[in-house]
Symmetry: C2
């Protein structure tokens, strides 16, 4: 990714036509577009290839299986033209190594900490351990909550110069500039952009907020 605007669109729409429409409008002002399983299951993995004609695509698959299955899942994302894939680290080192190995031509990002309440039960208490493991297996970076800049700051100390992507910005309450200032390389924004009357203008507002223009 080119680190141009530091903004990634979470394209959490589930239908093909609006997805392509928003992607075309917003692509010029974002560094990447993130898609997840609902649209892939609805449209087929081919939607990744279609969207890749507008922007770099990150497949947010929260890959969370045994090593061999993880490897096959990540291979599908690579074949579909994704530039990045998001995996769960809690399934352990061997599962994650399989993702990094299958995704060595793209960026593998590991979920270190999440922001929904349930993530406080099992995942978040292990955030530093998961981030450290992600670095040990050669992941490109981690996912850390954009709603908690202090946690981005803490996880930055663990991952050094690796990438930090911060979702939860906008509708979920996080502030883009605060996440970037705390050490995130990219913020991930969904509804505030794709639900806006003018998605591109909404994205531009966030970019200006990030850059302080």
């Amino acid at each position: 990714m080119r680190k141009k605007t530091r903004l990634i669109l979470a394209l959490d729409v589930t239908e093909r036509a609006p997805a392509l429409e928003v992607a075309e409008q917003v692509a010029p002002v974002v560094d990447a577009i993130k898609v997840n399983y609902p649209i892939i299951l609805g449209c087929g993995i081919g939607i990744v290839k279609e969207l890749a004609s507008y922007s770099d695509i990150i497949c947010d698959l929260k890959v969370a299986d045994v090593p061999n299955t993880n490897r096959l899942i990540v291979q599908h994302a690579v074949s579909a033209g994704a530039k990045g894939v998001i995996c769960q680290g809690f399934v352990g080192r061997d599962s994650l190594e399989a993702c990094v190995d299958a995704g060595r031509r793209i960026d593998v990002f590991v979920v270190a900490e999440m922001s929904h309440p349930g993530s406080n039960i099992f995942i978040n208490p292990h955030a530093e351990d998961i981030a450290r493991m992600a670095m040990n297996v050669g992941a490109a970076g981690i996912i850390a909550p954009g709603t908690r800049p202090e946690r981005i700051r803490a996880l930055r100390k663990v991952v050094g110069k690796a990438l930090i992507l911060a979702p939860g910005i906008g509708a979920q309450g996080g502030k883009a500039s605060a996440a970037i200032k705390a050490g995130a390389n990219y913020v991930i924004v969904g509804r505030s952009i794709y639900q806006a009357e003018d998605p591109r203008a909404a994205a531009e507002v966030i970019v200006r907020e990030i850059t302080g223009d």
Copy 2:
């Protein structure tokens, strides 16, 4: 599921034609067929509907995202005609509730413990907690390692009369009868069946091993 043979086929092949061929051969002697993401990504979710003409299908999606995304993923499995879906409990109670809510017409199974080495780092130490949470949110059952009958026995105490599905039987070292004796309702077997010269005969051997005939 009908609890007829107590055997579930893990159909971990990735191509449509051999998947349908094995399913047709083996369906008469298994209670369900489990499929995972590699074949769904390769063939589209429609493969679930095709396979469902032979057998009850469990979608092993290791669902591991935030509540709303989990809900949409499970809805896809339901729409495709699956009778069960496998979710990760590690992402927390709200994420799991979303799965159970979206899957209330089918069986939601929660991964309590896994058998690959990496699962010992974060997941397995929480197995009892995850199993308890699965019961609290109304899941149909849990996944527990067929390679470790003593762990099935321990988790049976947590889940009462709920279902326990035990993978890792056969090529991975677990013995079907030992897992059933320890309290599993179903064993899940993959390679020993679908890689056999005669998959149906291989499945029948396991059924006889289970029933002691």
